[in-house]
């Protein structure tokens, strides 16, 4: 469980997160909102790239904000990036092993864990293939494999299906749905594809201008009038 309380982030005169209070209980939770709502900034706060001006984030009873950024992976916080960041010059295996060896996992289980993670996301290539030779879908899957290897506790997925065709988005969705059960992690999914969000997430929170405007079961949240207004800017909901 992640409890966010009165989180505030300021960049000069801009306040991308303005008093955000929300709880992500368990399983796969959605986090949606129009562009610039503060979703990625929220992930960056969790990752330690951005220091908040105030508020607190408690993850499984621990104060996440007090942890050094690089130690958060060891604690079990993993993420993918909006613009995919698989390391091109490294092989599939090394990409995933990188996270494994820096998150305090023993060498003894490395082969098993790394190959397990690659299998989990459905990457069937030779693990020695360089990531630079892969296509968009596979690179995204490498990132997801990196996020689930070892013992993840919180997995942040920042638009993991952006730019993927429908069929591949479906595969991504099936992978995401299996993470909480198979890997035992809490997943927070940010995406603009509402069908992906409703297919994966039991609960969803909605951000707009850095404030939480709705949260609850995904079905209800997506029907919420305020949410539609935030997305469409008018009341003529589709």
């Amino acid at each position: 469980m992640i409890e966010v309380s009165d989180l505030r982030v300021r960049f000069g005169g801009v306040t991308p997160i303005d008093g955000m209070t929300v709880t992500f209980p368990a399983g796969t939770c959605g986090l949606i909102g129009p562009n610039g709502a503060g979703k990625t900034t929220f992930f960056n706060v969790l990752s330690g790239f951005v220091k908040p001006a105030g508020g607190s984030v408690t993850a499984f009873g621990e104060d996440l904000l007090r942890m050094a950024d690089f130690r958060r992976a060891r604690w079990g916080l993993r993420r993918t990036f909006q613009t995919e960041q698989a390391i091109e010059k490294l092989s599939l295996y090394d990409n995933v092993a990188l996270v494994h060896e820096h998150s305090g996992q023993g060498r003894a289980t490395r082969d098993e864990d790394v190959l397990g993670a690659l299998g989990f996301v459905g990457l069937e290539q030779d693990p020695n293939t360089k990531v630079g030779t892969l296509g968009a879908r596979d690179r995204r899957l490498v990132e997801v494999a990196r996020a689930v290897v070892g013992k993840p506790r919180v997995v942040l997925l920042d638009e993991p299906a952006a730019g993927l065709p429908d069929e591949e988005t479906q595969h991504m969705g099936s992978v995401i749905r299996r993470i909480p059960e198979h890997m035992g992690a809490l997943v927070i999914l940010v995406d603009h594809d509402m069908s992906l969000v409703s297919a994966c997430c039991e609960v969803t929170a909605v951000l707009d201008f850095g404030k939480l405007i709705a949260s609850g079961p995904t079905e209800e949240v997506l029907r919420d009038e305020q949410v539609m207004r935030a997305y469409l800017g008018t009341e003529e909901a589709a």
């Binding site: 390391i87 490294l90 990188l98 020695n128």
Partner: protein
């Protein structure tokens, strides 16, 4: 690499293990080393052996810079100054202690590692052009200090330098088993090979993966749990260790050291040859070493002006930046293959007529 028809090995295949490609490469390298160690000293004159000894030494320096730039993405323009530090420390150790030669090599490497890591400290906050400038300024500062105090030559006190006319002062000793120039050439080549092994081992291990992640994307590296401070300093420490060992080899190669052997401008030349050799392959450093020490002597022996070198390097760097970012080490085989195909086509046309 594995053949497509084979079932993919699911179990152990951690890439640290030796593959068949690695075994083939090892055979080629051993053969090459044997040729360099046994054939070259009988083929070349003492003058050219000394030049090649220098080329081997500077290939270690190039290796250090290549790792910083090609693997971690840090540009340092202070490596020649670090080399001077290494040579200074080694000369001091040679004159003040009776330690065996290999121990002096190791100690010079370790002490230079500590000093050189300080040169790398700004890398924790700066990158790109600013880091390059800061390291270049530090190189300048180190050069100025060494110019004022000069290298140890057996004199008294901490500086161990005695002012004297040319030829005064003592020579830095060589290892007892390698006092002649051919023997010292072999000794240097073996140490150089060991340094490349140290580098290879790093690049292929946890550190190499962490560096690769840092080079492509610092956020991704952080998110993977890479301790950025540790691994950046580690890279500078490794480069400085290698360069320190090179400094000790250099001190014993030339015998007496002078500050004009380490002009600050050489830092730029080093950057140029490292780029031309190729920063993404360790072999690039070998080519860089040859470009740095062998090419100038070659031009000189053909009675060509030294300025030509600057022009050649300028063209070379332009070529690398524009068309061949991986340097000669990757471009040359490609060009040769293209040439081979072109000749094949010509011959084919000739036959058909």
């Amino acid at each position: 690499m594995s053949v497509a028809t084979e079932p993919r090995p699911r179990s152990p295949l951690s890439p640290g293990r030796v593959s068949s490609g690695d075994a083939r490469r090892a055979v080629v390298i051993v053969a090459l080393l044997a040729f360099v160690l046994f054939a070259i000293p009988t083929l070349l004159s003492v003058f050219w052996l000394k030049v090649l000894t220098g080329a081997a030494i500077y290939s270690i320096v190039a290796l250090g810079l290549g790792i910083l730039m090609g693997r971690v993405g840090l540009v340092s323009l202070g490596q020649i100054a670090v080399l001077a530090l290494g040579a200074w420390v080694a000369a001091k150790l040679f004159f003040d202690t009776g330690l065996p030669f290999p121990i002096v090599l190791l100690l010079s490497g370790l002490i230079t590692m500590v000093l050189g890591t300080f040169v790398g400290l700004p890398a924790l906050r700066l990158g790109g052009l600013y880091l390059a400038l800061i390291t270049l300024m530090m190189a300048g500062a180190i050069t100025v200090v060494i110019a004022a105090t000069d290298f140890p030559n057996g004199g008294p006190g901490f500086l161990a330098h005695v002012e004297s006319s040319i030829g005064g002062g003592d020579q830095v000793r060589r290892p007892a088993i390698a006092e002649t120039d051919p023997a010292y050439f072999r000794y240097t080549v073996i140490v150089t090979a060991l340094m490349f092994l140290v580098a290879l081992w790093h690049v292929r291990s946890k550190a190499g993966r962490a560096w690769e992640a840092i080079r492509q994307s610092e956020p991704a590296a952080l998110a993977a749990g890479v301790n950025m401070t540790l691994y950046k300093l580690w890279a500078f420490a490794l480069a400085s260790f290698l360069t320190g060992v090179a400094g000790a080899l250099l001190a014993a190669n030339v015998g007496d050291l002078f500050n004009y052997q380490f002009p600050t401008s050489q830092n730029i030349t080093l950057l140029a040859v490292v780029l031309m050799g190729g920063i993404y392959s360790l072999w690039g450093a070998v080519i860089a070493g040859l470009l740095f020490r062998y090419l100038p002597e070659l031009l000189d022996s053909w009675n060509l002006p030294a300025d030509l070198l600057t022009i050649l390097f300028g063209i070379g760097v332009l070529q690398v930046l524009l068309t061949a970012p991986a340097g000669i080490v990757e471009q040359f085989p490609k060009d040769m293959a293209r040439l081979g195909r072109a000749i094949g086509r010509l011959v084919g046309i000739g036959r058909s007529r």
